[in-house]
């Protein structure tokens, strides 16, 4: 049995932001303000993420989709929440002060239906000192072209060109998996000046109500997440990471440190926990602790050493 390695260094740098470890949350999978109501200040003392990604905000308030909004599937779930949020003004007034109390950098997710709407959001959020970076949710139609921005390289490029000079903050593009070639979208994002990409968003899905044989969700269709999509996410991450030079934040069904290491080996600089948060509010803490163990078992003393490469278990280790 080999001597256990010292505790590996989990620290990373993402778009110039130093993070204590590589585990974030996926946008819309953890509401730190609501969680603080349930768990109190223990949440701040033991915050599970190295940076917090907000739920997506839009220019105007949205109520969200009619219920039912969620449906459990084998090793996963389908959701159609519909981006309920307070709108830009409500976010700045009510949510930003509370999110600024979190002990980690804040990444704000924004979505507009035109370059002008996105510009208003980037202007409104980008110069706030509480905000470390912005994530662009491009899984929405451009009302002018009718095309989903994140499904067309030309749309993605045009959006980034329109936004790039409006803020000095890092811009992260959240990629949709519902395209034939996500790497082409990532290349367009990089060409337009994006600082990072994050992937995957949920996979379009429409569960049926077994009692009526009609679509179960109030909105008809939604997005699949959870362990069921993990190999799809890894496949897309691998092709995206090979195609771009900017960092990738990998997510899609991560539930353990071993899962996180797979995403890092596939090229992710950071990883995000999403649906697993629903199963345990500190699932990300366990992912982080297990990731350190996975690295140590491979005699790696830093997470950077694992990025984008095969990392076999230590030959002398007999544990499984």
């Amino acid at each position: 049995m080999s001597t256990p390695a010292a505790q590996p260094d989990l620290g990373i740098e993402l778009c110039g932001i130093r993070l204590a470890h590589p585990v974030l949350n996926g946008s819309g999978t953890f509401d730190a303000i609501a969680a603080r109501r349930a768990f109190g200040d223990a949440l701040l003392e033991r915050f599970p993420f190295a940076a917090f990604v907000s739920k997506t905000i839009t220019p105007e308030p949205r109520a969200g989709n009619p219920p039912p909004r969620i449906f459990e599937t084998p090793s996963g779930m389908v959701n159609s929440i519909g981006l309920p949020n307070k709108g830009l003004d409500g976010f700045l007034r009510h949510d930003l002060p509370a999110l600024a109390e979190l002990p980690v950098p804040l990444i704000v997710s924004v979505m507009g239906t035109s370059a002008e709407e996105f510009a208003g959001l980037v202007d409104g959020v980008g110069d706030r000192h509480e905000v470390a970076a912005l994530e662009l949710n491009v899984s929405c139609p451009n009302v002018k072209s009718g095309l989903i921005v994140g499904e067309q390289p030309t749309e993605t490029l045009a959006l980034l060109r329109a936004l790039r000079d409006r803020t000095a903050k890092p811009l992260i593009v959240k990629l949709t998996p519902n395209v034939a070639d996500p790497a082409a979208i990532a290349v367009a994002a990089e060409e337009g000046g994006a600082d990072a990409v994050s992937l995957v968003n949920t996979i379009k899905a429409a569960p049926m109500d077994p009692a009526t044989m009609r679509p179960w969700l109030g909105a008809g269709s939604g997005g699949l997440s959870g362990a069921a999509i993990r190999p799809i996410a890894l496949g897309q991450l691998t092709s995206v990471a090979a195609a771009v030079g900017i960092p990738a934040i990998g997510m899609g069904g991560i539930e353990s440190g071993g899962d996180a290491l797979e995403f890092i080996a596939a090229g992710a600089t950071a990883v995000a926990v999403g649906t697993a948060n629903f199963r345990d509010p500190i699932a990300a803490e366990r992912v982080r602790i297990e990731l350190a163990g996975e690295l140590a078992a491979r005699d790696l003393d830093e997470v950077e050493s694992a990025r984008g490469r095969a990392v076999p278990s230590s030959a002398t280790s007999t544990s499984t």
Partner: protein, 286 residues
């Protein structure tokens, strides 16, 4: 133990393993007890998210935790012993139905907004009326004991589909109970809301009571309308499809009066009748 201004007991952060200490069957329901060594005693009306270390493995379902109200709670030598009542109808409840003493479950809680005292709902409230249907009487049983401890007069109206679904009655070890059953095996043949209508029409004190209800969505909506029409304060303990229990997933949307939605997990599960547009929430009761 930390308590927020709205009475909710804060949950320890993170899910934790609890030993199952007892299981029993009552009618078509199963009641199991879990020893929560590290948790606080919940406030009546609060709920827990239950799951198991192996959920999501073989067959992939159940995958998400399931929300359960507390049917009974007792201080233990260490922590608190919690009783949960269930009917095995889907992958999650079937798994929980198979628990045996010595098994482990994982839980997060207590979660959500608890019941309010009658005087908080109506300064003139002279007492409480509990209206329970089927498995919904579990959360009312714990609330009835809290009201009794506070010296508040309580009348309980309980309704059941049939004898098999009357198993929760054993949780109500009090005399002031009126019963209804759809099959007529006990009490009034019909709905429990028939009993409430009689009570609200017939007795002066009823209008100065506060009504608390838990049961199927159609029952809750009938109670809500009946109380709304008569200006009787009421609180409903509701359910909705829920993945997390602490405001993360936004799945448990309940339509608010005046538009938009609330998240039942953090703004409920106990809601005031006038807060919501309807108790007939699509997807509830599954």
């Amino acid at each position: 133990m930390s308590v927020a201004t709205d009475g909710r007991v804060l949950a320890p952060l993170g899910r934790r393993a609890c030993e199952v200490t007892a299981v029993r069957t009552t009618g078509t329901y199963r009641v199991f007890s879990a020893l929560d060594r590290d948790g606080p005693r919940p406030a009546p009306g609060q709920f827990y998210m239950l799951t198991g270390e192996d959920w999501g493995s073989a067959g992939g379902r159940p995958y998400l935790p399931r929300a359960f109200a507390v049917a009974e709670e007792r201080a233990a030598d260490a922590g608190v012993e919690l009783d949960f009542m269930l009917e095995p109808v889907g992958p999650g409840t079937v798994r929980l139905d198979g628990l045996a003493p010595g098994d482990e479950i994982e839980l997060t809680g207590p979660l959500g907004r608890p019941f309010s005292m009658p005087a908080e709902l109506n300064p003139d409230a002279a007492g409480a009326i509990l209206v329970g249907g089927g498995i919904g009487i579990a959360t009312l049983a714990i609330w009835r004991r809290a009201l009794a401890d506070a010296g508040i007069a309580t009348r309980s109206l309980l309704g059941f589909r049939d004898e098999a679904h009357a198993g929760g009655l054993e949780l109500f070890d009090c005399s002031e109970v009126r019963l209804a059953s759809e099959d007529g095996h006990v009490g009034h043949r019909g709905y429990v809301t028939d009993l409430l209508a009689v009570l609200l029409e017939g007795e002066d004190s009823s209008r100065s009571a506060a009504v608390y209800a838990c049961g199927p969505p159609a029952m809750l909506e009938a109670v809500r309308e009946m109380c709304g029409d008569r200006d009787v304060a009421c609180e409903l303990a509701m359910e909705a499809p829920m993945a997390c229990g602490f405001g993360a997933c936004f799945g448990c949307a309940v339509p608010l009066a005046g538009g938009s939605y609330m998240r039942l997990c953090v703004d409920g599960p106990v809601v005031r009748g006038e807060q919501i547009e309807t108790a007939l929430v699509a997807g509830a009761g599954h």
